[in-house]
């Protein structure tokens, strides 16, 4: 079947989708957006977390057919999403976001350092993860970024308990949780300064 939906602000069309296929599979294998990670396939690990109509969900548990006509934001679109949110309080126009082609063509440019984030435009939460040393193997990072970004949108000054709860569905097996908490606190603090 064919599924039409919006990914990172751009309309997309996925063809030859199997009826039992997950949104995660469509994103990774059909649209070439491998940012959302495939680990447990049962909603335990959160590494496939995306926003579905603004709500964080495990994309491995959403049937592809269920996203027809709906809006998805993945980690690939997080920087643009955060920018739009900061500038226009949302992305209702549909004109924002990284185009699929641009996302596919993406590569680190000279002068850009993917480890320090230097020269690369990142969302505040992504920058905070780098600055706090919250990225180890990196596999859980995309899901954590999407979940943490959504929490900070809802709750600009979270307590530690709020952070722990918001990230309770995201597993890190390097067990870098302390640094991850540091990163979210840092992003929250920077968000507070900016206002």
């Amino acid at each position: 079947m064919r599924v039409n939906f919006t990914v990172n602000g751009r309309p997309q069309e996925a063809d030859d989708v199997w009826e039992g296929e997950s949104l995660l599979y469509v994103l990774r294998e059909r649209l070439g957006l491998p940012g959302s990670k495939n680990a447990c396939e049962q909603g335990e690990c959160g590494s496939c977390t995306v926003r579905l109509d603004g709500v964080p969900v495990c994309s491995c548990l959403v049937a592809a057919g269920q996203v027809e006509g709906r809006e998805v934001v993945t980690v690939e679109g997080l920087a643009d999403f955060a920018k739009e949110r900061a500038e226009h309080a949302g992305c209702d126009s549909g004109a924002c976001g990284t185009s699929l082609d641009a996302a596919k063509r993406w590569e680190a440019k000279p002068g850009q350092d993917s480890q320090t984030g230097e020269g690369v435009e990142l969302s505040p939460i992504q920058q905070a993860f780098i600055d706090a040393g919250a990225v180890q193997c990196g596999f859980c990072t995309p899901g954590l970024l999407v979940a943490a970004d959504e929490m900070l949108e809802r709750n600009p000054s979270p307590t530690d308990a709020d952070i722990r709860e918001a990230l309770s569905g995201n597993l890190c097996r390097c067990t870098g949780y302390e640094k991850i908490l540091d990163a979210v606190r840092l992003a929250a603090a920077r968000q507070g300064e900016a206002v």
């Binding site: 049962q42 959160g46 969900v57 495990c58 049937a63 057919g65 269920q66």
Partner: protein, 296 residues
Amino acid sequence: MDFLRPASWEEALAAKAEHPTAVPIAGGTDVMVEINFDHRRPEYLLDLNRIELLREWEVGEENVRLGASVPYTTIMENLRAELPGLALASHTVASPQIRNRGGVGGNLGTASPAGDAHPALLAAGAEVEVESVRGSRFIPIDEFYTGVKRNALAPDELIKTVHVKKADGPQQYSKVGTRNAMVIAVCAFGLALHPETRTVRTGIGSAAPTPIRAKEAEAFLNAALEEGGFWDNGKIITPSIAKQFADLCSGAANPIDDVRGTAKYRRHAVGIMARRQLGWTWEQYRGTGRTLEGAA
């Protein structure tokens, strides 16, 4: 496999009548796991996400009408006063991502003895409104669970609304697991005081082939509270009554040994939860505030 995408409730009922083997999918947090792991290859998936009425809820005079797909997040954020037990249970479901998708209809459809909502529904008192093209009927929650992962639904029926009695007294819910999130209950317990009828109701999860009430324990406690005039005098419940109640709750459980825990441990833990919850809810009842909100 076919993906059926009804735009209305009537279309969904018609589709289910035409294809009784169709597997309804709403939050997908159970169904997609089975499909991802190749444990299930349904001929038809019946997507219920486009049906608005399943996501609606309304607080009435006596009941809360809860659409089958109302996400747990909505319940815990909006219904803490009306459904304190279910709101607490909702908060223990998996993780924010799962609570954003899953709802009580899915718990009832799957009818796993470990479903988090069941003990709260049993304790509060609820009816499940199911419908098919033949008409609708209300199934009392006590008659809904018929076996391990079996329920009273006919093949052509869908779960529409869960009518849960509004709390008329304090309610509690707790669950045993290895951490505070992403836990399938080792066992769970729910307790509701109903001062209006001067009764107490219970619910036990993950400690019998189906979710159950500890009816003997309820009868004992109801009689003991009546006899001692406790509902009127608001005195502290004597430890011997609490112990007897806890023992009877333990006795009502009929658990098995499995990877998550032993039968012996489950029986023990059910008794502990019963005693503690009786203490918490009774303190709340006696307290001047007599607040109906659950304590997380």
